[in-house]
Assembly symmetry: C2
Homo-oligomer: 117 residues x 2
DNA sequence: GCCTACATATAGAGAGCCTACATGTAGACT
DNA sequence: AGTCTACATGTAGGCTCTCTATATGTAGGC
């Protein structure tokens, strides 16, 4: 229904961006659309968030970009580097740990007795 | 193993704090220990995070506090208000939506075909 | 006296996500 | 020709929250 709380996105944006670039290179605008599509409309990330984040990820070497002109419009297309691929794997693993940890605090009753450990 | 990335905690701290106060009132120091215990040691939230957060949650009405002296030491004990109880329910629901949304972007292949919608 | 555990609090730093704004092309409609 | 929407990228500044570092004080063991 409502959008995801922006504060909650903190620290997960990198994973989201790397993830949508896993299958194919995309330019910024298409990345935003892909995020919305994959999330079933729950994520509408503003350009002021995405573009700086992409540049940051390129700066640290997880992404590489090149300009292209399609239909008279200029696009900067980003792709995962091998470093970015490794980072994405780490982000996924961190995500699973994160949800496990927070979940265990938020809903301790949901833990199966035999699953302790 | 490693601690949870601090940035990832953003926007979830409120839920964590309200959650550990659900069963019984606790003072700040005990809240920190409860978070560590419930998370199996994965969460070690610093006092500089917890104390200001507790005061903020009291300011907005989710918590109420009173001073007590136990063994010569002063404690400020926090408890959930009825508003805080409602808020906790909202936080839990938001958490489930959040994990669903991020998960659907991070691991779209994990989605069962019959679970679409 | 010194050290550790218990217990609370504040100041300032740091990071990143957001709003708002700026810039420009292409195509449809009037 | 003028206007509007969709496409497409970018920056500046603000905001909020978490963290580090520091300060204060009691109780108990050595």
């Amino acid at each position: 229904m409502g959008d995801v709380n922006p504060d909650a996105l903190r620290g997960h944006m990198d994973a989201l961006l790397l993830s949508v670039l896993e299958d194919e290179p995309l330019h910024g605008y298409a990345i935003i659309e892909a995020l919305t599509a994959r999330s079933g409309g729950a994520l509408t990330v503003p350009t002021g968030t995405v573009y700086p984040a992409l540049r940051r990820l390129e700066r640290v070497g997880y992404l590489a970009s090149e300009w292209a002109t399609v239909g008279g419009r200029k696009r900067r297309t980003y792709r995962l580097t091998s470093s970015g691929t490794r980072q994405l794997a780490g982000e996924r693993s961190a995500w699973r740990e994160f949800t496990g940890v927070i979940g265990s605090v938020l809903e301790p009753d949901a833990r199966r007795p035999e699953a302790a450990g």
